[in-house]
């Protein structure tokens, strides 16, 4: 049967589109953008974790010398924020692995770690705000009673 006949039914090309990227590949432009943000992600994560560690150390030393409720609260908050900072360095590590070996599962890993970072940051912020509100409330009661 002749397929080029004028009266033949039209046929769709069922094979893969030659212009499309190979299955499982990561868009090169997206890979470029992710690679460009990796250094900053790592820097912010590292500085954040070190800053939190320094604050916790300093406040723990001060708290040991002279117990103070406010110092304890700031100490807890600084310790809380160290976790998201550490997660940020893990996102940077996942991006590094993606740039070395671009694949769909690796991209999913990057996105998963990013989601984990934002989720933990959200929980941490909510917890810090909760602690702040509770401390302000009890300090108000304490100041009113004295």
């Amino acid at each position: 049967m002749e397929s080029s006949s004028f009266y033949a039914a039209p046929q769709a090309t069922l094979g893969p589109d030659p212009a499309a990227p190979p299955a499982g590949s990561v868009p090169p432009a997206a890979l470029e953008e992710l690679a460009a943000s990796r250094v900053m992600l790592f820097t912010v994560g590292l500085v954040g974790a070190l800053g939190c560690a320094a604050t916790v150390g300093m406040l723990a030393w001060l708290f040991a010398r002279q117990g103070d409720g406010l110092r304890l609260v700031i100490l807890v908050m600084a310790a809380l924020f160290a976790a998201p900072a550490m997660l940020l360095t893990r996102v940077a590590a996942a991006i590094k692995a993606l740039t070395k070996e671009p694949s769909a599962p690796q991209l999913v890993e990057v996105m998963r770690r990013l989601r984990d970072f934002w989720r933990l940051l959200g929980f941490t912020t909510a917890a810090a705000l909760g602690v702040y509100v509770i401390v302000t409330f009890f300090m108000g009661i304490f100041l009113r009673s004295t």
């Binding site: 589109d17 299955a23 868009p27 954040g48 996105m111 989601r115 940051l121 705000l129």
Partner: protein, 128 residues
């Protein structure tokens, strides 16, 4: 949706979850920014027009950081919404591009604020 496996349903689902947390972060930073402007407004004005002390500088830096982070995260959430409405590779690249912008601008600001807060605290300790 694009034929590429890269922008898969798993990626779309993860980005959808991330968008919710991004919005939460944007709203919280906006509230903190507004609260800081409202409560520390006179201090900020003195810092800008008068003699700026370390406290003024710290309040200003924190205020700017909160405002910028709120704006950038809201923008990132909006781009993510556009991607989720029509998940194409092109929009996925836009999402990653917005993410890069967020970290390129917000990253140094966050680092500066952290450094300024620590410095101010150390300065306060050395004086007391």
């Amino acid at each position: 949706m694009s034929d590429s496996v890269a922008v898969s349903h798993v990626v779309v689902a993860l980005i959808r979850e991330t968008r919710g947390w991004l919005r939460f972060f944007a709203v919280v930073t906006l509230i903190l920014f507004l609260w800081l402007v409202q409560s520390e407004g006179p201090v900020l004005l003195t810092g800008i027009f008068g003699r700026a002390s370390l406290e003024h500088a710290l309040t200003l830096v924190t205020c700017v950081t909160l405002g910028v982070l709120s704006l950038l995260s809201w923008r990132q959430a909006s781009t993510t919404s556009r991607f989720l409405a029509a998940p194409t590779e092109e929009l996925f690249v836009t999402v990653t591009s917005d993410m890069r912008r967020f970290w390129r601008i917000g990253g140094p600001l966050a680092v500066c604020t952290m450094a300024a807060t620590l410095t101010a605290y150390l300065f306060h300790l050395s004086k007391s």
